[in-house]
């Protein structure tokens, strides 16, 4: 080969590098491995053109590698493709493109590079000419660390830096179709390229402001795909400052809108609103009506996230009208889906289902995979709200792989969290805990605070179900703190409600009532009926525990009405069960039996095993009170088996204690004492003080029957003290009276 002087259409630096590369081609004899580091396809093409012109007599083979399949499967390895391309020919040099596309820079494994690393000697033996790989910086970086032995046999590397025109051309390529539908690998690659281009543009003697702003804007956009906690904020803010400086109003508005998106994702709702309004004003001034509609829709999102459903609906409807006017079907579908969200928020499930089903095919038609996944997930949400747990799980399982494929981490985390919720509702506690923790990790990474708090609350729910109450309270308090920080009222109300539930479960009734009474007006104010019903139920629970049975019954009736109206079957079953409890406490056993029997099939139907066990246990209680001891024993055994399966220790303790009562009634005192002894430590372990008091009382009564006066006295005393500590003074007095009775 014969080298001539360097081409003029290259920068002086690139000319030096070009001469070096040309000299390598000229001097090389036999296999020579070289790497050309160039980030811009335009510059790369120019280089190749120049080289071909410099060596017109030489046969230079150009090969673009075929990438692996989307799932990472390597159909044709690099060496195979190279040797296939050479065939029986004897090229003087081979230029290889597309090595960057053979692996995913964000994936842990890269089979194509592993194979290349292993086959390096074979390649050296079979190729008797220079082999020049033209790759981007990230490609070179990954090659060095993932195929170090292949890298080691290189003879040289050559680095070319692009100019503003190259940056502009590369930017154009990166921007094209840079959305969620792009494959994950491709998204990672483009983000890497953008980072390299930024470095090059910034290091220029006089950086070109419009190009720099555009690169920063796209990098911010890329951060959205990468799910970082910053969410691209720094990049957008830098771009915004530049656009303002160069008086590019469209660019400025776009940055405002994107910063609004970041704020919304980070639950900074007031910031988001301000930013969208700023963008909206500019779009109006410059007459970009489509962008204006997009802004209205996003303002709707802010209202929605703040649970201002009426405002959200109005804004979505307004945007919907505009999209229809422009014939923008995708915009229309997005609006329909958002309106579905509003309907769901207002517990109008059938309407929500209908809206999602209208939007989904449009997204599919346009190949908008994110939109489609969002619709499927929302349909899962409807199913979940209607307690169709199996359907919900299936829908989430459908949406999850789409999110994973396109790398939408928020959607992925949402699906995982919802699957956790389904697992929780099906009383698969350890699955639920695992799933919540998985989701929590992602939410923390991407900085979604609302969802982080929701996960913490979910973990609190699971801890509560397993009677790990102090842990549960800790989780809820962490969640409550986040909700208050970001001013998310629904979350706060939910948290207060569940904190009420948990402290109630620990027997702190006065505190529980305080929590419920704080939560109730919050739910009413934001129109969240389910939460309202749950609070009423909680207040019923507190009243019931304090033996105000009639008052409790009234709360339950109110709650039941709401649950039935919104079609929340679990709430319905729970309310029925509580109503039955009240009948039971007022010794109306026939009425109680009938109501429990209404609740049981609902629990079974929705697959709530814990609910089923609770109901079984109560049916046992009714049987016990009616003196049907064998029947009671069977019911308790059945309930106990379920409690053990789901790991509900409180339920286990209750069943064991009641089996003790059955034994006592059947005059099997030894068995009874033994069973009480088993139940007591469980109550103590889980901190269920009411259960402990009840168990002690049972032990005392048994001791009386066994004429063990010292034990009876001690147990009565402990039980009375425990009741007083909990604040159940009436019970405490009763116990003391009973102890004094002859």
């Amino acid at each position: 080969m014969a080298a001539v002087s360097a081409p003029v259409n290259l920068s002086p630096e690139n000319q030096v590098e070009f001469a070096t590369l040309a000299r390598m081609l000229e001097l090389a004899s036999g296999f020579t491995l070289a790497f050309v580091r160039v980030n811009h396809p335009s510059l790369r093409d120019r280089l190749v053109e120049e080289l071909l012109a410099r060596f017109p007599q030489e046969s230079i083979l150009r090969l673009t590698l075929r990438p692996p399949l989307e799932d990472g499967t390597v159909v044709h390895g690099v060496v195979t493709q190279l040797l296939d391309a050479v065939g029986d020919g004897h090229p003087d040099a081979i230029f290889v493109f597309g090595l960057d596309a053979m692996f995913d820079p964000a994936a842990r494994d890269s089979p194509a590079l592993d194979i290349l690393n292993l086959n390096r000697s074979y390649l050296a033996k079979r190729c008797c000419c220079p082999v020049v790989f033209l790759i981007a910086e990230f490609g070179m970086r990954e090659l060095m660390s993932r195929a170090p032995d292949f890298w080691r046999i290189r003879s040289g590397t050559y680095h070319f830096v692009g100019d503003t025109e190259d940056a502009r051309a590369t930017l154009g390529r990166v921007k094209d179709g840079f959305d969620w539908n792009l494959g994950l690998r491709e998204k990672h690659e483009r983000a890497e390229i953008l980072r390299h281009v930024l470095k090059e543009v910034e290091s220029a003697a006089q950086p070109d402001s419009p190009v720099l702003a555009a690169v920063l804007y796209q990098l911010g956009h890329a951060s959205e795909f990468e799910g970082t906690a910053d969410g691209g904020r720094v990049h957008f803010e830098r771009a915004l400052a530049l656009y303002r400086k160069i008086r590019d109003r469209g660019g400025e508005a776009n940055c405002d809108r994107r910063l609004g998106d970041v704020a919304l994702r980070q639950s900074r709702h007031a910031d988001a609103k301000t930013l969208y309004r700023e963008a909206l004003t500019i779009y109006r001034q410059i007459g970009n009506r489509l962008a204006e509609a997009n802004c209205l829709q996003r303002l709707g999102d802010v209202a929605f996230r703040q649970n201002r459903y009426a405002d959200a609906e109005k804004l979505y409807q307004q945007a919907l009208g505009w999209y229809r006017e422009f014939g923008d079907l995708l915009g229309e579908a997005t609006c329909l889906r958002n309106l579905g969200g509003v309907a769901l928020g207002r517990d109008r499930y059938a309407e929500a289902d209908d809206l999602y089903r209208k939007a989904q095919p449009v997204f599919r038609q346009f190949g908008d995979r994110l939109g489609e996944a969002n619709c499927i997930q929302s349909l899962g949400e409807v199913a979940l709200q209607q307690a169709r747990l199996a359907d919900a799980a299936e829908l989430y399982q459908q949406a999850l792989p789409i999110y994973s494929q396109i790398g939408e981490r928020l959607g992925e985390a949402n699906c995982v969290k919802k699957l956790g919720e389904v697992a929780r509702l099906q009383s698969r506690c350890s699955d639920a805990e695992d799933l919540y923790r998985q989701a929590l990790t992602i939410y923390r990474q991407i900085g979604d605070r609302v969802a982080e708090a929701a996960c913490l609350a979910g973990l609190g729910d699971v801890a509560g179900m397993q009677s790990r109450y102090p842990e549960a309270v800790e989780f809820y308090e962490q969640a409550l703190l986040i909700y208050r920080q970001i001013g998310y009222r629904l979350g706060e109300a939910n948290c207060l409600g569940t904190l009420g539930d948990v402290v109630r479960a620990q027997g702190h009734y006065a505190n529980a009532e305080i929590f419920y009474r704080q939560a109730l007006p919050a739910f009413r104010q934001i129109g969240q009926r389910m939460g309202e019903a749950n609070c009423l139920r909680g207040l019923g629970d507190v009243a019931g525990m304090q033996s105000r049975y009639a008052e409790a019954g009234e709360f339950y009736e109110q709650a039941l009405l709401i649950y039935r109206r919104i079609g929340a079957r679990l709430g319905e079953a729970n309310s029925l069960q509580r109503l039955a409890d009240m009948s039971f406490h007022q010794d109306r056993y026939g009425e109680a039996l009938e109501t429990y029997q209404q609740a049981l099939p609902i629990y079974r139907q929705i697959g709530d095993r814990l609910g089923e066990a609770n109901c079984m246990q109560r049916l046992g209680d009714v049987a016990l009170q009616r003196g049907h001891f064998q029947q009671a024993g069977t019911a308790y055994e059945q309930a106990l088996a379920i409690y053990r399966q789901v790991g509900a220790r409180g339920g286990q303790a209750n069943c064991v204690q009641r089996l003790g009562a059955v034994a006592r009634n059947q005059v099997r005192y030894e068995d009874a004492a033994d069973l009480y002894q088993q139940a007591l430590p469980i109550y103590r372990q889980i901190g269920d003080r009411l259960g402990e008091a009840g168990c002690l009382l049972s032990m005392a009564r048994l001791a009386v029957l066994q004429q063990n006066v010292p034990l009876a006295r001690e147990a009565f005393d402990l039980a009375a003290t425990m009741y007083s500590t909990i604040g159940l003074t009436a019970q405490a007095q009763q116990v003391r009276d009973e102890a004094l009775a002859p």
Partner: protein, 173 residues
């Protein structure tokens, strides 16, 4: 593999000690030049030059060869990658100090592309202590495999240092 967790399995499978062909030391544990090692590396290059009937003085300006040998870390493959790269950058011989510097800087930049903060931290520790980085065995293995850290041997046993190119990374490590 001799430095990895597979070491014992390797020994068991093939029976006997793993023989290591140590790198030619270019410096000593105390950081001073290892003159003997540098001389040996230069000699290898001189022998190659002799085959072309040129003299080392015709090929290298001043102490350019010693400088190249020093940053190679005693890894002979690195010596030739650096030499080749420097030769491609010359319009005529000898290789000047300026060209040698530019070549070394380019190689150092290449090396720095895959350097992450945790790599830098570990390498600084190795360079300072001259011992293996035991905090993270996975990372240590990677650094050895990628020739970021290099093993040497002297009468007191094996010791380690970073690849001297790392010290030439613009902006420091």
């Amino acid at each position: 593999m001799a430095f990895s967790e597979a070491h014992l399995r390797l020994k068991a499978a093939y029976g006997g000690e793993t023989l290591l062909l140590p790198l030619i030391p270019v410096s000593q544990r105390n950081g001073e030049d290892c003159l003997e090692g540098l001389r040996a590396l230069c000699l290898i290059v001189h022998r190659r030059i002799a085959k072309t009937e040129a003299t080392p003085q015709q090929v290298f300006e001043d102490d350019v060869l010693e400088r190249i040998c020093r940053v190679s870390g005693g890894y002979i493959c690195n010596v030739f990658i650096l030499l080749r790269s420097a030769l491609e950058r010359c319009d005529e011989l000898p290789i000047t100090r300026e060209i040698a510097d530019r070549t070394i800087r380019r190689q150092a930049i290449d090396l720095s592309l895959s350097l992450q903060p945790r790599h830098r931290e570990a390498l600084r520790a190795v360079h300072h202590s001259k011992t293996a980085f035991s905090d993270d065995p996975g990372l240590w293995n990677l650094l050895l495999r990628n020739l970021m850290a290099l093993p040497y041997e002297d009468e007191s046993g094996v010791w380690y240092d970073w690849n001297p190119l790392i010290a030439a990374v613009p902006g420091g490590v």
